[in-house]
């Protein structure tokens, strides 16, 4: 009995951290764009849906090898980021529109992408190719069982986060990105090509969310749920936990949301898990608008988006 309970807890811990870190990756997409252009991209989560559907069609219809299908779909999602910049962001900014127009345009872009997918693939969810092992398979450690899919996600998301940390902290690219985020004009004066770093931020944002989408694929299937459901909002929530500034805060926030969600499913009920995470989001926003995992901003700076 107690062992069963322990196994449940461990299982939920691993899957909560795994799913939560993908929420955090979705949140990173929000953070990167907010940092570089000071706008919130409501079409953020659509990259996840696009990458999953691209991967599905490359793998199932074209019969490509897994690696090539993955690389190709992620590359196309990166291009989607550039399209987002040059077809939506730049024209709107040129006409001197306010932030709300960007919000509406990106929201409608989400709707557009969902209807494109519906037209091509139909509305029914499709099974995700079993590249992370079969959905029913488990690993037994002693008397504790863990589902392999979550272990895969856990490991891949962890590697990705470490890679991003290296990119941001140890390379010149990361330095350029951080400098532009801190002060756009000063960066320009220092000879940084801000045009390039902006494009880079767009590409990085869509790519990360695209990878997160593929990680979420085995859980949510190849479905429209990935393009507009509550996952996008959870991504925003994790970004907010880090005050929209701290990338690590976004990851930690995502993990917190994933854990809360899993344990409220385990202890309360699965129907209300979304409500619980939304109520927590509202509470955090009300009490700590700077985010709870934020080590970057000084007091009284955020919440003024």
């Amino acid at each position: 009995m107690t062992l069963q309970f322990l196994s449940d807890i461990l299982q939920n811990l691993v899957s909560g951290i795994a799913v939560g870190s993908t929420y955090g990756l979705v949140g990173l997409g929000v953070v990167f764009l907010w940092q570089s252009i000071n706008r919130i991209n409501f079409a953020n989560i659509s990259s996840a849906m696009i990458s999953v559907y691209l991967f599905y069609s490359f793998y199932t219809y074209v019969n490509m090898p897994v690696a090539i299908a993955l690389i190709l779909s992620i590359a196309l999602v990166a291009l989607y980021g550039l399209a987002l910049r040059y077809l939506i962001y730049e024209p709107i900014t040129k006409r001197g529109a306010s932030k709300l127009e960007f919000v509406v345009a990106t929201l409608m872009l989400t709707v557009l992408m969902m209807s494109v997918i519906t037209v091509i693939f139909g509305g029914m969810p499709k099974p995700f190719p079993p590249i992370f092992g079969e959905s029913g398979s488990f690993i037994r450690i002693g008397s504790i069982t863990l589902s392999t899919i979550y272990l895969y996600i856990f490991v891949i998301a962890g590697v990705l986060i470490i890679f991003l940390h290296m990119l941001l902290r140890k390379t010149l690219v990361g330095k350029l990105l951080r400098a532009t985020a801190q002060n756009n004009e000063a960066a320009q004066l220092m000879g940084i090509n801000v045009n390039l770093t902006t494009s880079l931020a767009f590409v990085l944002a869509t790519t990360i969310v695209g990878i997160a989408g593929i990680l979420l694929g085995p859980i949510y299937f190849v479905s429209l749920e990935l393009g507009g459901g509550s996952i996008g909002i959870k991504g925003f929530a994790s970004a907010v936990m880090g005050g929209l500034i701290d990338p690590y805060g976004a990851i930690l926030g995502g993990i917190l949301i994933g854990l809360i969600e899993n344990f409220s499913t385990l202890l309360i009920s699965s129907t209300y898990k979304d409500i619980i995470s939304f109520v927590i989001l509202i509470t955090v926003l009300m009490l700590k608008p700077n985010g709870i995992f934020n080590w970057t901003t000084k007091k009284g700076e955020a919440g003024q988006a």
């Binding site: 709107i92 919000v103 509406v104 989400t110 209807s115 929530a237 929209l244 989001l281 509202i282």
Partner: protein
């Protein structure tokens, strides 16, 4: 002044005659839906365009209005007029509560709170089966009636048109009142407004309250028109759609809600062409056209119309040979 009255009279005449000219029941139905949307979107124009507070959860209020009114009339047998009144009150209370976060949060953070609110309402609609009927929905909701007079589609059209005109009139009065001006002031520069002695909290509460009244009211009107309710029309994307209507119509324009609501309700219907193999494409093209509108016309259709009107006026005056008026004179004439 005189000419403006004639235009208004013409507008009312068109509204009055519409059901007679167009006997098509389907088009009348779409028109009624469009006016219901217009009432709600007018609230968004008020809240976002005038007071500068973003809400992406208006579908939540819409749902509260619709469900509260139908639950009261179906399960408790309450007369429709009273159930609508109570529904509007409940929606108002929710709006007042939701205005509290706006004291502290701006733009994106506020929109997140409103999104979360809309999602919470939606999950509740889906899961409180006993009350809302869950995913199956609520059925046999009584149609709007007054005493023994049942409103058929055409009568409902007049009723809705009356409410819309009333809403626009009230909004026009508010726009030029103390409250309206303080809304503009806090939208422009909240610190400067506060320095001038404007109570920003009160203004925000007022704006949220007014918008939620309109959203709840249109929800109740929708429920008693349609006769049944399912959770689908109240998803998050419907909130997004409402905001899109406001932006397409013109956020800073008094008639923006009306133009946007009617235009974007008709657009998908007009695109619903019966060509084999293209049945699913209408949503795709609707969202594409909306994106184009937002990207290319940030002032919205309302802004475009008033610009065209000014230009036409100038050209007309130029033809008659009179001199162009100075802006002050024109302002006084209005």
């Amino acid at each position: 002044m005189k000419r403006k009255r004639i235009y208004l009279l013409l507008l009312f005449l068109i509204i009055f005659l519409y059901p007679f000219i167009d006997g098509n029941a389907y088009r009348l139905y779409v028109m009624n839906r469009a006016i219901i949307h217009a009432i709600l979107v007018t609230g968004i124009v008020f809240l976002t365009g005038f007071a500068g507070q973003i809400s992406l959860g208006q579908a939540g209020f819409y749902a509260i209005g619709a469900y509260v009114s139908s639950i009261l009339s179906v399960r408790l047998g309450m007369p429709v007029v009273f159930s609508i009144l109570i529904a509007v009150l409940v929606s108002l209370v929710a709006g007042l509560i939701l205005s509290i976060p706006s004291f502290k949060l701006k733009a994106f953070f506020l929109s997140l709170v409103t999104i979360a609110f809309g999602q919470v309402v939606w999950v509740l609609l889906l899961n409180l089966d006993g009350l809302t009927g869950g995913a199956n929905g609520l059925f046999s909701i009584p149609r709007f009636h007054f005493g023994s007079f049942m409103f058929d589609d055409a009568a409902y059209f007049y009723l809705l048109a009356f409410f819309l005109v009333l809403v626009i009139y009230v909004m026009y009065r508010i726009k030029n009142s103390y409250m309206g001006r303080s809304m503009y002031a806090i939208n422009n520069d909240i610190i400067a407004a506060e320095t001038c002695g404007i109570n920003s909290k009160r203004t925000k509460i007022f704006a949220f309250g007014f918008a939620s009244i309109l959203a709840g009211f249109s929800g109740a009107l929708y429920a008693h028109y349609e006769g049944f309710l399912t959770p689908e029309p109240f998803v998050f994307f419907e909130s997004a759609n409402f905001v899109a209507m406001a932006v397409v119509g013109g956020l800073h324009h008094l008639a923006g809600g009306v133009i946007g609501g009617i235009a974007l309700t008709w657009l998908p219907e007009l695109l619903r062409l019966d060509i084999a193999g293209f049945e699913n494409y209408y949503l795709l093209f609707t969202s594409l056209i909306v994106i184009l509108f937002v990207v290319l016309l940030p002032k919205g259709l309302g802004g475009l119309f008033s610009e065209l009107l000014v230009r036409l006026k100038e050209r007309w005056r130029g033809k008659r040979g009179t001199e162009r008026e100075t802006p002050q004179v024109r302002k006084r004439e209005e």
